[in-house]
């Protein structure tokens, strides 16, 4: 069988989701941590809906996945330099000056 890729960033297959579920990782957060989907460069933009749909199907309903995993900024990979000046000088504390 050829691999059916759910998460291209971390090479997670549809089969991986099934096996993880069988091993007891039966909620989105656990499934995500165990298989690694959504933890790569795109942070879930091309896999979260597939994984949620999988879980909704095996658990019997959309309400079984009503909450998405916690959203973790930034929305897209962004250089550290972009944030280094994001606080007013007084807030940042002189000791962290780059």
């Amino acid at each position: 069988m050829p691999k059916t890729i759910v998460c291209r960033c971390e090479d997670v297959t549809e089969e991986d989701l099934k096996r993880a579920f069988e091993r007891g990782f039966r909620d989105l957060e656990s499934l995500r941590r165990f298989t690694g989907f959504g933890t790569g460069f795109c942070q879930g933009k091309s896999c979260l809906c597939h994984a949620a749909r999988f879980l909704a199907a095996v658990k019997g309903g959309d309400d079984m996945v009503s909450d998405p995993p916690r959203t973790r900024p930034p929305l897209r990979p962004t250089p550290f330099a972009a944030f280094a000046g994001a606080l007013p000088e007084a807030d940042a504390g002189a000791e962290e000056k780059p």
Partner: protein, 381 residues
């Protein structure tokens, strides 16, 4: 879910699971673990995986020596690779006080058999060539400290414990602890009650709430601690680096990401678990000062967990005076994960009365009333 058990552990984080794991391996498995979320829901699933033996008290150095020994073999014991990589810990001191602390700690650690060395910034640069050490006076480096991948530690301990007969219930919230007279009789959850005479409070940041259910007040306070990871790149950083001037720490994970955080003296005690721009900004500045090239590396995600802090920086362990059968295993600040395998073993032996350990009398809740607090001065990173 079982309706009775010899022992109920509240909290399915690494502390509770390590206890369950060690109890089960000692042949005691009439144990139920109650976890309010999924495994890895609390601080155990949100930390950076640092494991160090560089501490300032004899107790903690010895404890962590033991923990490192146990972590070195955990992958084989539990069948999940925790990728424990002993790339060392490199502490940077920028002022006299921190330099003196490192010097004093190094002496203690050496006496106890931990091979920490005080090194010059020039020598530190040989270990991590990309570091900008301008303004750093002295560094402490122990090559046997390291980092690991936290999730498989939790899964592995849970798997073995449950193979050996421990029942682990996730998504189960404790709503009451029934105490008759002085004796615990029952734990009530949102999925039913469990008759028991012994309850271990290993609920981390939620410990004070759990203790209150049994009428016990703990002095622990939860503090949000934020952390982030970058995009993965090829290995360039072996040790975990920690800057004592502001509590910045960062290491490179097995996947190649930079993972780190820093302390925030302005963070109030709360159960806030959201991410802040303040942290992201401070961390970015601090990282760029230490490794200027990291400025163009990209942040992948930021998140937060809790430090479960006690007034003296030492955990709360053992019995409480007011309630029989109520055992504390909490207050580990940001260091529960690294201490877990050692603490789990000690607590299991202590609970089964196989061995005594002074830590359960010196680190009990009563120390605060007795005025016997002892401050661990090296709680950073």
């Amino acid at each position: 879910m079982r309706d009775r058990a010899d022992l109920v552990i509240v909290g399915g984080g690494v502390i509770g699971l390590s206890l369950a794991y060690h109890l089960a391996r000692l042949g005691f498995s009439d144990v139920v673990v109650l976890e309010q979320g999924y495994l890895c829901f609390g601080a155990s699933g949100r930390n950076g995986g640092g494991v160090r033996q560089q501490w300032s008290t004899e107790e903690n150095v010895l404890l962590m020596k033991d923990a490192v020994r146990r972590y070195r073999r955990l992958s084989q014991e539990c069948g999940y690779n925790i990728w424990f990589r002993q790339g060392g810990y490199l502490f940077l001191a920028r002022d006299d006080a921190s330099a003196a602390t490192l010097e004093q700690n190094t002496k203690l650690q050496n006496r106890l058999g931990v091979p920490t060395r005080l090194i010059s910034p020039a020598e530190a640069r040989r270990i991590v060539p990309v570091l900008n050490l301008e303004g750093v006076r002295v560094c402490a480096y122990n090559p046997t400290d390291g980092v690991l991948f936290p999730f498989p530690v939790v899964w592995g301990m849970a798997r073995i414990a449950s193979d050996l007969g421990v029942e682990i219930n996730t998504f189960t919230r404790v709503t009451n602890i029934d105490v008759r007279g002085r004796q615990i009789v029952k734990v009530v959850t949102d999925r039913g009650a469990i008759a028991t005479r012994r309850v271990v409070n290993a609920a981390g940041a939620w410990s004070p709430q759990v203790a209150r259910l049994a009428g016990v007040e703990l002095p622990n306070k939860p503090y949000r601690h934020e952390i982030l990871v970058s995009e993965p790149v090829k290995p360039f950083l072996d040790p975990l680096v920690s800057d004592l001037s502001n509590g910045t720490y960062f290491s490179q994970t097995m996947r190649g990401e930079i993972c780190g955080g820093l302390s925030d003296p302005a963070e109030p005690s709360s159960m806030e678990s959201g991410s802040s721009l303040r942290f992201l900004s401070r961390m970015s500045r601090s990282l760029m000062r230490l490794v200027p090239q990291l400025g163009s590396l990209k942040v992948l995600r930021q998140w937060a967990g809790y430090y479960d802090e006690t007034p003296d920086g030492q955990p709360i362990l053992g019995r409480v005076d007011a309630v029989d059968g109520f055992i504390q295993l909490n207050g580990f600040g940001g260091h529960g994960f690294m201490m877990a395998p050692a603490i789990g073993q000690l607590a299991a032996e202590w609970i089964l009365r196989k061995a005594e350990h002074p830590i359960f009398s010196t680190c009990d809740l009563g120390r605060f009333a007795r005025g016997e607090q002892r401050r661990e001065t090296f709680s950073i990173g």
